[in-house]
């Protein structure tokens, strides 16, 4: 090896070594220097300051290092900081936390109603601007304060923050009343043409105190639970009101975002809803049209249904009986959709994205009406909802139990 080559290699090595001080390990963080945050709560205090609550995971209480999980130590710790701005409040955490807060695994942000009504623009900006907090966190809104939600322990779950994401995912899969709302999709909607969005509501239901101590998990029932209920509607950057759970479902149907839900229906109109069926494969076509000065929404909803529970008379071998059930199911779906539309029209927030359909179909006209869509055109919009539900499975029996019992009596 000649001296020239050695020189060249030495130069190259020196150049490579120069990278090291440049990098300087500045974002190196050992795992035990991190305070892992599982959920964040956003509140506004009486004085109008931001109050941020953190659900801090305590790994040693959760990890089953010795084969069993410790049940005496609380798996999470909740604490709050206050500040004039969101990040200002977060930065105060260093005054009371020995570890740097790590938001990379924060999956849930719960917004208190007061904070939501005040405006979440500042919060959204924090998520957009900073790399260490992810826009994929799920947003919930709660009546009252956010902090009690974080303090609430869920049965079977060690980290309630993570449990909330599973709760809402399961609700979307099977319940069909709510869908997960992330900061990212909320931003898309609020910064889109409609400036309206929604987030599922969360509340502590049940009587008595919140479950804040691990001791509560020693009994077979817990006095209170976290529960998804109601939908918070947002326009621009602040919350404008709540709509009810079945109205939320109606709006999701309009957006074809229900993957499956179970609905109850009566035997005949006006009767008690004693039967139930599961709706799957729902598809909605929205066709907005002009009608005079205002707008008309023509929506065609196609869905499949599987019969779960049936107590009326008649034999389901008969196509006419099936058609009757389909009609009843259709009515239920239609009424949910109409309720949802009316509720959102009342609050003047087009969260179902009908304006988006108008914009696509009438791009020129939209430019003129966009500014007033939520406030003037949307609330006055008429709707014609056509629903067709096809009953694809009636289950393993054709007749209801009552019918079968009657038939057997006749045969005697």
């Amino acid at each position: 090896m000649s001296r020239g080559i050695i020189r060249r290699w030495a130069l190259l090595l020196a150049a490579a070594l120069l990278f090291l001080p440049l990098a300087g390990c500045w974002d190196r963080k050992e795992l035990n220097e991190l305070g892992i945050i599982a959920a964040t709560g956003i509140d506004v205090t009486e004085e109008g300051k931001w109050k941020i609550s953190y659900q801090l995971v305590i790994p040693s209480a959760i990890s089953s290092q010795n084969g069993f999980t410790s049940t005496t130590e609380s798996p999470v710790n909740v604490f709050s900081t206050e500040g004039e701005s969101v990040r200002g409040a977060v930065s105060r955490a260093t005054q009371e936390m020995s570890r740097s807060l790590y938001f990379g695994h924060n999956q849930v942000v719960v917004i208190g109603e007061r904070a939501a009504r005040k405006g979440i623009g500042g919060l959204l900006d924090v998520y957009l601007r900073n790399g260490n907090s992810r826009e994929t966190v799920m947003v919930f809104v709660t009546e009252g304060e956010a902090r009690p939600i974080l303090e609430q322990l869920l049965p079977m779950e060690r980290i309630s923050g993570n449990a909330l994401t599973r709760l809402i995912a399961l609700e979307k899969e099977s319940g069909g009343n709510f869908r997960p709302q992330t900061v990212y999709s909320m931003l898309l909607q609020l910064l889109g043409p409609l400036h309206a969005s929604a987030a599922p509501g969360i509340a502590i239901s049940g009587s008595g105190e919140g479950v804040r101590s691990v001791d509560a998990n020693k009994s077979t029932s817990t006095p209170s639970k976290v529960r998804l209920q109601k939908l918070a509607l947002f326009r621009d950057d602040h919350m404008i009101g709540w709509i009810r759970t079945h109205e939320s479902r109606g709006l999701l149907w309009l957006r074809s975002e229900v993957s499956g839900t179970t609905i109850s229906f009566p035997c005949r109109e006006g009767g008690p809803k004693v039967n139930s069926a599961r709706i799957t494969g729902l598809k909605t076509k929205m066709k907005p049209a002009r009608s005079g000065d205002g707008w008309l929404l023509q929506a065609d909803v196609e869905a499949d249904a599987t019969l779960f529970e049936y107590t009326c008379g008649g034999n389901l071998h008969d196509p006419a009986a099936v058609a009757g059930i389909e009609r009843m199911l259709g009515q239920q779906v239609r009424s949910d959709i109409e309720d949802g539309l009316q509720a959102s029209q009342r609050l003047k927030a087009d969260v179902a994205g009908i304006g988006e359909a108008v914009r696509r179909k009438y791009p020129r006209t939209w430019k003129g009406i966009a500014a007033e869509w939520n406030s003037r055109f949307y609330p006055e919009m008429k709707a014609e909802i056509g629903v067709h539900v096809g009953l694809i499975k009636t289950g393993r029996s054709n007749r209801s139990y009552e019918q079968a019992s009657e038939d057997s009596r006749e045969r005697k």
Partner: protein, 576 residues
């Protein structure tokens, strides 16, 4: 009577013929070739030890030709006593130099002396083939021996007709006599003659052919090379019974004078590669060759790389397979490891067993091996990078689990990983060096150091133990230990850069390694072949192995036109 070919090739000290069991025509051709190469090299460099290497025909040369490693050439004296004394003086009266005086009926009244070095000769063979025939020569000798011819002619007659060892040679110089003795000949001095006779009687204790210890297979031949080059070449030839298998021998090492043989398949190997290998072997000027590793360091393309460019094997079947694929082999006397070249990177992940197992199993195992190689290189670095820079990548529950384990661990992940990796390297080295008798002790202690005890003591986290253990196991999946250790060296580099830069560090080191690999050659063959440069036909036997019948062509390193192995085609079935 055909003239017995000389077994001295002066420049190289090759006891050729003894090892060359090949057709004589080809043999002599290769012999003279190597001779030419050698003298060419000397002319160019003018090395001290062999500066006066001249032409080495021995038979009819009147003047004794000077020998390669000797600077002088002293003619033998007609006096037996003087010669014996001179030889003894040269050996400083070493105890293993044996001298036996005798007389032969064929040379009545003339004193004879047989000299040999005990331990490197087969004394039984000397007794049977040299001493006894000489002593009994009178009765059995034909009449011509009793004639009054010149003493020289009579000795020549003795050499040709009476001494019955495999090879005999007249020796005219003191230096030649010394060499003959050192190579295991019995030297016969005759009173009144300045010409001695060397009779080849190499022998001595050698190890039996045993099972491979380092490169084992489940299915396949279970022979391993031994320390005897003669045995090793025999083992290869017993697999390849073809006259195309060529053996070129030479002696390398000023003091050790070790026999080094270059083996290749004529017509399969690329002539350019053999020429280059021959040139590199002839260029070696070294005082000793104790193992094929000495030779490897001289003939490899690049010294400053962790990646080996010469493959070593202790398996005759692997050596034979290499020869049949167009590689050359270097057999070094005294080393049970035979060198194969040229080799490419992916060759190191091929076990001979790949060709003995069914192709689907072999392909799967080969992919596992390649994966294990990259795991053994990257796993600790990935762990460090992910846990100290990219915690987002972990599932939440795993993050919490790892984080709980790290509670109370005093060191950063990088230090922790270094500690454990070094511990493992020490353990492994101890496992190789320790006396067999204390083996169990090492394994007990090893389990303590690299196990739950270390975790309970709060030195390291449990996850790190798993990472290090899995890395270690992956390391041993690679069939060639030298490339596995190369992976170990790069692993430390990766760990440091991962500890400083995270994934960016890992990727930059990987890029360096890839660039480095792409710049390596082995005897003119790009190291990353057949991936870069891309060679279509060779993918059948690189990452996977195609069925035997479809491997019709040899790898491209083989000679052009000599690459077709067999006609090819799927075997026909009668009932399908």
């Amino acid at each position: 009577m055909p003239r017995i070919r000389s077994f001295w090739i002066r420049e190289g000290f090759v006891l050729s013929g003894a090892q060359n069991g090949n057709g004589s025509a080809e043999n002599s051709a290769s012999g003279s070739q190597s001779h030419r190469g050698a003298s060419g090299g000397k002319d160019g460099k003018g090395r001290a030890g062999s500066s006066n290497g001249g032409n080495g025909g021995n038979g009819g040369a009147a003047k004794p030709p000077p020998l390669g490693r000797r600077k002088t050439a002293t003619a033998l004296s007609p006096s037996l006593a003087a010669n014996a004394h001179a030889i003894r003086m040269q050996f400083h009266h070493s105890g293993d130099l044996r001298l036996r005086l005798l007389s032969s009926g064929a040379l009545p009244g003339i004193q004879l002396a047989a000299l040999y070095l005990q331990g490197i000769v087969d004394e039984e063979a000397i007794r049977k083939n040299v001493l006894e025939p000489l002593q009994a020569a009178e009765a059995a000798a034909p009449g011509s021996l009793k004639g009054k011819g010149r003493l020289k002619d009579r000795i020549e007659q003795l050499r040709l007709n009476v001494i019955s060892t495999g090879l005999t040679e007249p020796v005219r110089t003191l230096e030649g006599a010394l060499d003959a003795l050192l190579l295991g000949c019995c030297l016969l001095l005759v009173e009144g003659s300045d010409e001695a006779v060397a009779a080849e009687a190499a022998g001595g204790e050698t190890r039996q052919v045993g099972e491979p210890t380092a490169q084992t297979v489940i299915r396949g031949p279970q022979h391993a090379f031994t320390e005897s080059a003669r045995t090793n070449i025999g083992l290869i030839r017993r697999i390849i019974r073809s006259e195309r298998l060529t053996v070129e021998s030479r002696r390398i090492g000023r003091e050790t004078c070790t026999e080094v043989s270059l083996l290749y398949m004529n017509g399969i190997v690329d002539a350019e590669i053999v020429k280059e290998a021959r040139r590199r072997l002839d260029d070696i000027d070294i005082d000793s060759v104790l193992d094929s590793g000495y030779i490897e360091e001289f003939i490899q393309d690049s010294s400053f790389t962790p990646f080996p460019t010469v493959l070593n094997t202790e398996r005759p079947d692997q050596a034979a397979a290499g020869l049949l694929e167009g590689h050359f082999a270097v057999v070094v006397d005294g080393s049970p490891y035979v060198l194969l070249g040229p080799v490419t990177f992916f060759r190191f992940f091929q076990s001979p067993e790949d060709h003995y197992q069914r192709f689907d199993i072999a392909s799967f195992l080969r992919l596992i091996r390649i994966a294990a190689f990259f795991i053994s290189m990257h796993l600790p670095a990935l762990y460090i990078a992910i846990t100290t820079f990219h915690q987002e990548m972990l599932p939440s529950n795993l993050l919490i689990g790892l984080s709980a384990q790290r509670e109370g661990v005093p060191f950063p992940a990088l230090v922790e990983a270094f500690l454990m990796e070094l511990t493992f390297e020490v353990l492994r080295e101890a496992g190789v060096r320790m006396p067999r008798a204390i083996g169990p002790a090492i394994s007990i202690v090893g389990a303590l150091v690299l196990g739950t005890a270390a975790v309970q003591a709060g030195l390291v986290s449990a996850a790190m133990v798993i990472i290090v253990a899995f890395t270690a196991i992956s390391n041993f999946v690679v069939p060639q230990i030298n490339i596995a250790i190369a992976a170990g060296l790069i692993r430390f580099l990766l760990m440091v850069s991962a500890g400083i830069l995270g994934f960016v560090g890992i990727i930059s080191v990987d890029l360096f390694v890839i660039i480095h690999l792409a710049g390596l050659y082995s005897f003119g063959v790009p190291y990353l072949k057949p991936v870069a440069p891309y060679v279509k036909g060779e993918w059948k036997d690189t990452f996977v192995r195609a069925p035997r019948w479809s491997l019709v062509r040899r790898p491209v390193i083989a000679q052009k036109g000599g690459r077709r192995r067999q006609p090819g085609g799927k075997p026909k079935r009668q009932n399908s």
